[in-house]
C-alpha cells in the first residue's frame, strides 16, 4: 500500500483534476479537463465522463463546461495527435478530428519539418439551430504533438498504469504455477 508521504496534507489538497494541455506558439492553447457526472446530466444509464473545453490566447480565454462526447473520444484524439506529429504532410493525409457531441473539431492546416498549424473550433452550443463557432488557429511543434498524444490519456486514465501490487501478485502467481520438480 502506498503511504501518504505528506500526512499533514489532506487528499483534497493533493488532488488535481485530470487536465490535458496542448500549447502552441504565441501563447495559444487548448485545454481539456475531465470529470464524472451523474446519469441525469446527459440522461445516460449511469454516471458518464464529461469534458470541459478551454481555448486560450493572450487576448481571450473561454471555457465550455461539461460537454458529452461520442464513444472512444480519448482514443481517437490520441490517434489524431500522434498522426499529426508523425505524418510527413498531415494537412494532406489527416482527416479533421471531429466530435459532434462535444462540438469540437481540430484540423491540420499546414506543416513543416518542425511545426504543425492547427485550427481548433468549438461550438458555443452544439444543439443550437445556428451554431456559433469559436475558433483558434495556432502553430505547435511536432514534439509537443507527440507528447500530447500520450498525455491526453490522462483524461480517462487509459495510459498503461503499472500498479506495484498487481506486479507483485503477477510474480507470485507465476511462482505458484512453477513446477516444483
Amino acid at each position: 500500500m502506498m503511504l501518504n508521504p505528506f500526512p499533514d496534507v489532506s487528499p483534497h489538497d493533493e488532488h488535481s483534476p485530470a487536465q490535458f494541455r496542448l500549447p502552441g506558439f504565441g501563447g495559444a492553447a487548448v485545454f481539456l479537463r475531465s470529470q464524472i457526472v451523474p446519469a441525469r446530466t446527459f440522461e445516460t444509464s449511469g454516471p458518464a465522463l464529461a469534458f470541459d473545453v478551454m481555448f486560450l490566447a493572450p487576448n481571450y480565454h473561454v471555457w465550455y463546461m461539461t460537454r458529452p462526447t461520442e464513444p472512444d473520444f480519448v482514443d481517437r484524439l490520441a490517434g489524431f495527435l500522434f498522426a499529426a506529429a508523425n505524418d510527413f504532410h498531415p494537412e494532406q493525409s489527416l482527416a479533421t478530428f471531429s466530435d459532434t457531441a462535444m462540438g469540437l473539431t481540430i484540423a491540420v492546416l499546414s506543416s513543416t519539418d518542425d511545426r504543425v498549424g492547427l485550427e481548433a473550433m468549438v461550438l458555443a452550443d452544439p444543439d443550437a439551430d445556428v451554431p456559433e463557432p469559436y475558433d483558434l488557429n495556432f502553430e505547435t511543434s511536432r514534439f509537443t504533438l507527440a507528447t500530447a498524444a500520450s498525455a491526453v490519456r490522462c483524461l480517462d486514465r487509459s495510459w498503461p498504469v503499472i500498479d506495484a501490487n498487481d506486479v507483485d501478485l503477477a510474480i507470485e502467481s507465476e511462482l505458484d504455477e512453477e513446477d516444483p520438480s
Binding site: S16, P23, F25, G26, P58, F143, T144, T147
Partner: protein, 266 residues
Amino acid sequence: MTHFYNRLPFPPDSRMTGIWSNSWVDDPMGDEVAIGHLISFPDNQDAGLESDFLSSHMPFNVGGFSGVYPDGSPWMFILQKAPADVSKRLMREEDPYWLMRDSLQRAMRFNHEARIVDELTWTRGKLEFAYALEGINTDDIADWTITDLIRGLLTECCYVELSDIVDRHATGCAFPGIEHDCAADVFTDVFARWGVGLLRRPEPQDNYVGAWYSIEDLQAMPRPELEATAKECGIRVRCRNSKKHRSRKRLIALIIKAPKKQNESE
C-alpha cells in the same frame, strides 16, 4: 562567461538553444526596474515552444533565452522591465518588482508543470555596474534605456564582446566589415546572426581567471583587501600618470580579467 551565466545556477554543459528580444517594448516612463526568472520545465516539454507560450502571456517581457540542462530537460530565462513606481501607484504595493512577479505567476497558471528556479533583479545602477565589470565606461551607456542595457547583456550570451556592442551601438551595425543583412540595430544584428548559427563559442582562453574570484566576493571585500588582491594579480591600484586610486568597479573588472599566469604564481 557572461553576466547572466555567472549568476544563474546552470550545471556545467547546459546549452542555450534559443534567444529572443521583443521589439514592441514600451518606451521608458521614469525610473525602471528589471527582473529575470529562470524557469524549468519537465523533460516532455519543448523549450522553444514553452518559452514562446509563456512569454506571450507576459506583457512586460523584454527578452530572454532558453535551452536544455545536461540531462536534456528544458529551461528558460525570461526578463521583464517596468516603471519602478507602477506597483505602488496602481496596486499599493511597495515592492517595485511586484507587478512583474504577478505577471509571471499569472502566465505560469497556464503551464502548471513549470517551476521557478531562480530570480534576479536589477535597478539601472546594478545594470550599469554589470557593464562596468566588463571594463566599460558607464558614461558610454548613459543614454541607453533599461531595455538597451538588458539587450546588451543578452547579446553577450551570443558570444559577442559587450565592449564591441557598446562601441558599435551608435552606428547600428554589430558586424562592420562582415557582409551581412544589417538590421541597423546592433542587438537585432547579433540575435539574427546567432539564430543562423554564425556565432560560435570562442576557444577557451588560458589567460582569464574570472571564475577564480566571484564578483560577489570581490564586491564584499574591504578596500585594502581588494587592493591587495589587485596587486597580487599585477594590477596597478593607482591610475597611470596620476596619484588617484582606481575605483572599486574598475579594480573588480580588472581582477576578473586578470591574466592567469600572474594568479597562478600566488
